[in-house]
Structure formats: structure tokens, C-alpha cells
């Protein structure tokens, strides 16, 4: 028998229709995969109805297995929905209790009897530190990726690429510890130097103390996202069709001109996606920033004085002494962070999907 039962017969309706040969539209999408099921359908019947016939049990197992996978797939949607629902449910009471404006108030005292807290400074710090980190990391990461893919000898490039992948796996708490204990010293010296000679520029002004500053946090963040961006863009650069590289060289291009004509334009969507994913990482980074920032409240562009704070770092720091409202306030700030990263990630995904279509149509 050639007929195929429509999917809805298995998934939706309660009892299994013993499908006689009527033309169902779902047959159009049927693949080879379904053939065994359909040949068994007429003899099989329902889960319980088929009795001890082996064929019936096979069909029942098929249904059960498919249901199991469907449940697992649905679980993902449930989890995402649950994240939104529970965060909102816990955030709302705290936001109600807030006596200050959540968007503009500069400070975080949700544990007081008259709770006052605002997301403004934290969101500002999050965006500022991530933007600075990317500003530093992206050019360097692209440089390294090009070095590994087009300058270094092939063996060395592969070996170093492997090493970069490993560095991308190092936990952030280790980078935080290093930043707090080791890297803070050169950064402090550098800050003092900047302050001495360039103190007239507001971002390098102030009277100290220096060190645990936005600059330290951003630099540590940059060092952390560097391996991720490098690893992704190196892969993109390696995918450049050799034919295009040779075409450029055969026109008399120098190596840099070949990279500019063939490699960079081809890799542009991939680079953008890599940068966006790096940005997502930077925005959500918690522990490394909680350990390296000065944790203050207030919007300031000063990069070198102790200070700076981000949504995630504040959650880690303020969680210990938070009461009920305090936890709610932190959850509310987490909700804002969730939204920001969601937007960044969806944008990145959209770019990747576009690129996938682009390369497939070109092939």
C-alpha cells in the first residue's frame, strides 16, 4: 500500500485513523522515513487495540518515541517561557516597592525600609565596559585570525588555532582572579601615567585612587572575548574559496590586497556575527567584572579611577546581603540584562542565517 497517513493522525487526534487510500495533503511532505510506519498502519491500529501483535507494538513504540522527542523539544520552549515568567513574577513586587524611579535613580539600596534602586548606572556601566572591550578586542582578534589563517605557516597556524580554542574555554573566574591580583598593577601604573600627562582629558582625570577601574574591567573583558572572536573569525577566513584568493593574486595583488579584495568581503557577515556573539558574552559576563571593577554607583566616563559597575557584577556583589525585596530588585535588573542580550543575540542569529543562505546560493 502506498498511502501515507497524515502527520496529524499521529500527533493530534486521539485515536489513530486506519487511513484508507484517500489523498491527504501531508503525503506531499512524506519522506522515505515514513514508509515503514504507513505499511504497518492498516494492520496495526491503536496503541491498546492491536493486542499482542508484534506489529502493533512496533507502532506503539514509534508513537511513544515520537511523543518523547516532541516533549523534549517542547521543554525548550517551556524553559524559555518559564525564565520570562518567573523573572517577571519575582521582579514585579520589588519594582512596586521601589520608591525611586527604576530607570533613572542612581543608586542601589533595595534592602532599606523604603527601597530605592535604579538600573540606569548599571546599564550604563554594562554597555560602556562591553563597548570598550570590543573596541580593543575586535581589531586585535581580527589581526590574530588573519595571522593564523593567511600569514603563519600552516602547521603553526593550526597549532596556535587549537591553543586559542583552549583559551576560549578557560573559566571567567580565572581571568577575574588574574585581573584582580596581577593585571591590576600594570594597569594602575598606566592609569597614574595617563592621569599625570593626560589628566586634562576628562576620561583620564580624577584624583585617584586608580586601578580597579572601568579600564581594568574592560581590558580583562577584552582579553576574555579575544579568543572567542579570534576562533570564530579564523574559521570564517579559512573558508574563503581558494579560487577567489588565486584570482586576486593572478591580477597582481599583494598579500594585503588579496585579503582586502577576496578574504574580508567574503568573511564580512561571519565577522559581524562573531563580534555580536562576543558582545553577548561581554554583556553577560559576571564574575570577572565583579572581581575587577570598583563597584560604585554613578554615571561617569572616567576610565581610570576606581569605580564602574555592571548589571551582572552588581548581582554577584549585592546578592549576599539581599533580603526579599533586594532579591526581587536584582531579578528585575537581570530581566533588563536578559532583554539586552536577547536583542544582541537575535541580531547575530539573523546575520548568521542570512550568511548561510548567501553561501548556499553561491555554491
Amino acid at each position: 500500500m502506498g498511502e501515507t497517513p497524515p502527520r496529524s493522525a499521529n500527533a493530534g487526534t486521539g485515536g489513530i485513523r486506519v487511513a484508507p487510500g484517500h489523498g491527504q495533503p501531508a503525503g506531499a511532505s512524506a519522506r522515505v522515513a515514513e514508509a515503514p510506519v504507513s505499511t504497518r498502519t492498516p494492520g496495526g491500529g491503536d496503541l491498546g487495540g492491536g493486542g499482542g501483535l508484534p506489529r502493533a507494538r512496533a507502532f506503539g513504540a514509534e508513537r511513544a518515541f515520537r511523543g518523547l522527542t516532541l516533549a523534549a523539544g517542547t521543554a525548550v520552549l517551556v524553559i524559555i517561557a518559564a525564565i520570562a515568567v518567573f523573572l517577571i513574577a519575582k521582579a514585579v513586587p520589588a519594582l512596586r516597592a521601589n520608591t525611586a524611579n527604576f530607570w533613572t535613580y542612581e543608586g542601589w539600596s533595595p534592602n532599606d525600609t523604603a527601597p530605592e534602586f535604579g538600573i540606569g548606572t548599571l546599564a550604563f556601566g554594562t554597555v560602556l565596559s562591553s563597548a570598550l572591550a570590543l573596541l580593543i578586542a575586535v581589531p586585535v582578534a581580527l589581526g590574530i585570525a588573519l595571522y593564523l589563517s593567511h600569514y603563519a605557516p600552516r602547521r603553526l597556524g593550526t597549532a596556535l588555532g587549537f591553543l586559542i580554542d583552549l583559551l576560549a574555554a578557560v573559566p571567567s573566574v580565572v581571568f577575574g582572579l588574574w585581573g584582580r591580583d596581577i593585571f591590576v598593577n600594570p594597569v594602575r601604573d598606566f592609569s597614574v601615567w595617563l592621569n599625570t600627562y593626560f589628566g586634562w582629558i576628562p576620561i583620564f582625570g580624577g584624583d585617584g585612587p586608580f586601578g580597579k577601574s572601568i579600564m581594568l574591567g574592560s581590558l580583562v573583558l577584552a582579553i576574555m572575548v579575544l579568543p572567542i572572536i579570534t576562533s570564530l573569525s579564523r574559521e570564517v577566513f579559512l573558508q574563503t574559496p581558494t579560487a577567489n584568493e588565486e584570482a586576486a593574486l593572478a591580477l597582481g595583488a599583494t598579500r594585503w590586497e588579496m585579503i582586502r579584495t577576496a578574504v574580508l568581503p567574503y568573511g564580512r557577515p561571519g565577522i559581524i556575527a562573531a563580534v555580536m556573539l562576543g558582545l553577548g558574552r561581554a554583556l553577560g559576563e559576571t564574575i570577572a567584572l565583579a572581581m575587577t571593577l570598583g563597584i560604585t554607583f554613578g554615571i561617569s566616563f572616567n576610565l581610570i579611577e576606581n569605580g564602574g559597575n555592571t548589571i551582572a557584577a552588581n548581582i554577584a556583589n549585592a546578592f549576599g546581603e539581599a533580603n526579599d525585596t533586594g532579591r526581587g530588585a536584582l531579578i528585575a535588573s537581570g530581566l533588563v540584562l536578559f532583554t539586552i542580550t536577547l536583542i544582541v543575540n537575535i541580531t547575530a542569529r539573523a546575520i548568521i542565517y542570512r550568511r548561510r543562505e548567501f553561501t548556499e546560493s553561491a555554491a
Binding site: 577567489n244 588565486e246 593572478a250 597582481g252
Partner: protein, 258 residues
Amino acid sequence: MAKRVDASNVTAYYGAFKAIENINLTVEPKTVTALIGPSGCGKSTFLRSINRMHEVLPGARVEGDLTIDGQNIYDRDVDVTAVRRMIGMVFQRPNPFPTMSIYENVVAGLRLNGVRKKSILDEAAENSLRSANLWDEVKGRLGKPGAGLSGGQQQRLCIARTIAVEPQVVLMDEPCSALDPISTLAIEDLMFQLKDKFTIIIVTHNMQQAARVSDRTAFFSIEKTGDPGRLIEYDNTQKIFSNPSHKKTEDYITGRFG
């Protein structure tokens, strides 16, 4: 414009593997020379060593002398990029830059060489596309991506891109092997026209094509797998295909091996 190519004792390696050995051959200006031979006989390697594209692959190197009108392109003080501008190359598979429009593809070489003036670029683009017999088909959509053309059109676009920088020699590495018969014919026609202006060297697997388009033919062969390719016979195309001097050449063109 067109120049004479002289190869003497050219030997090329891929790492430790010797791909061709002691090739001696002279190509006269404004002729079409075909390189034929069985797979793996080194004809493509030889072609790529004429514009120093062979050395792009890791571990690949060339020994011997290759001169263009008396200048050895393998001399130490020679600028590789100048060699490749003087000796253009068309590849087996059409390879227009996927992110560029038709127009940008054609003028890519000129732009690399610092030509910025729009009037010169426009004129060069039109001339090259006309020379490549592609102008009438694409003049209305010069801003569209080059990757949107058919295979044969793409290959003619690549030819236009190559001749836009007005090289002295044009190398073609099996330019029709990925194309249908009609596109192949169009490109063979094109070669006839182009030889008024350029020295053309073409690698081909198709012996009818070699017989149709070339003035002179070089037959390459190998003893067995792993041996370097050697030049067996080099003569006027008519002679090669009607009365070859070597038994091996005769066997090959009559289809007894290869």
C-alpha cells in the same frame, strides 16, 4: 603588447615531489599555444609557473629560467605582482569575486593598481567586456552581482577581468572544462579574436579544442605515477595532429592511452 615566453630547464616541485622536469619551450608572441597530455603530467603546473602562481601553494617552488622578452621572471629582484600583472590567468572554474558586482569584478585589477578615475575605469570595463563578447549580455545590469551569471558568462567575465589590465600574456587553465558546449564555443571564438593582441597559452584536456584553437601544441607526459612530467613533443598543431614525430604523442592523440 604581446610578448614571447621562453622556458629553459624549468623544474617544479611540490615539497619533495618533482612535478615537472627540464621543460624547454618557446612561445611566440600573438599565438595560441595548447598544452595537452594525460592527467597528472604537469601541464597545469607548468602553466602556473609561467606567472609564478605555482609558488602560492605551500612548499611549492620552481627551478630554471623563464623569460618574458628577455627578462627572467624568477630573478631575485623581480616583483612577483608585476609578473602577474603582465601575465594574466583564467582558471578552470569561473571565479568571479562573489561579493562584487559585474562592473567591480572587471575593474578589480585596475583598482588594485591604483586607477581611481571613473572615466578610465568605465572605458576599460566596456572595452574588456566587449572584447570578452559579454558586453551586450550584461550592459544593462553592470551593478548586479557577478555570481548571478551563468557559468559560461562567468568565465567570460573572468576573461574580461583578466584582459582589463591589458596583460602581455594570457594563461588559461582548462577554461572550458566546467562549461557546456555552447559556452565552450563562445570562448573558443574569443580566443581567436584575442590572439591579435595577446600571447595565449591554454591547458586543455580536449584534443579537438587544441586542434581547433591553437597554432602550436606541446605534448606533456609522464612515465608512470610519481615520475615528473616531461615535454615530449612541441610543434605546429597541424603537424602534431597529423604526423607526430613521437610514438607516445601518436598513441595519445589517437586515443590509445591517456
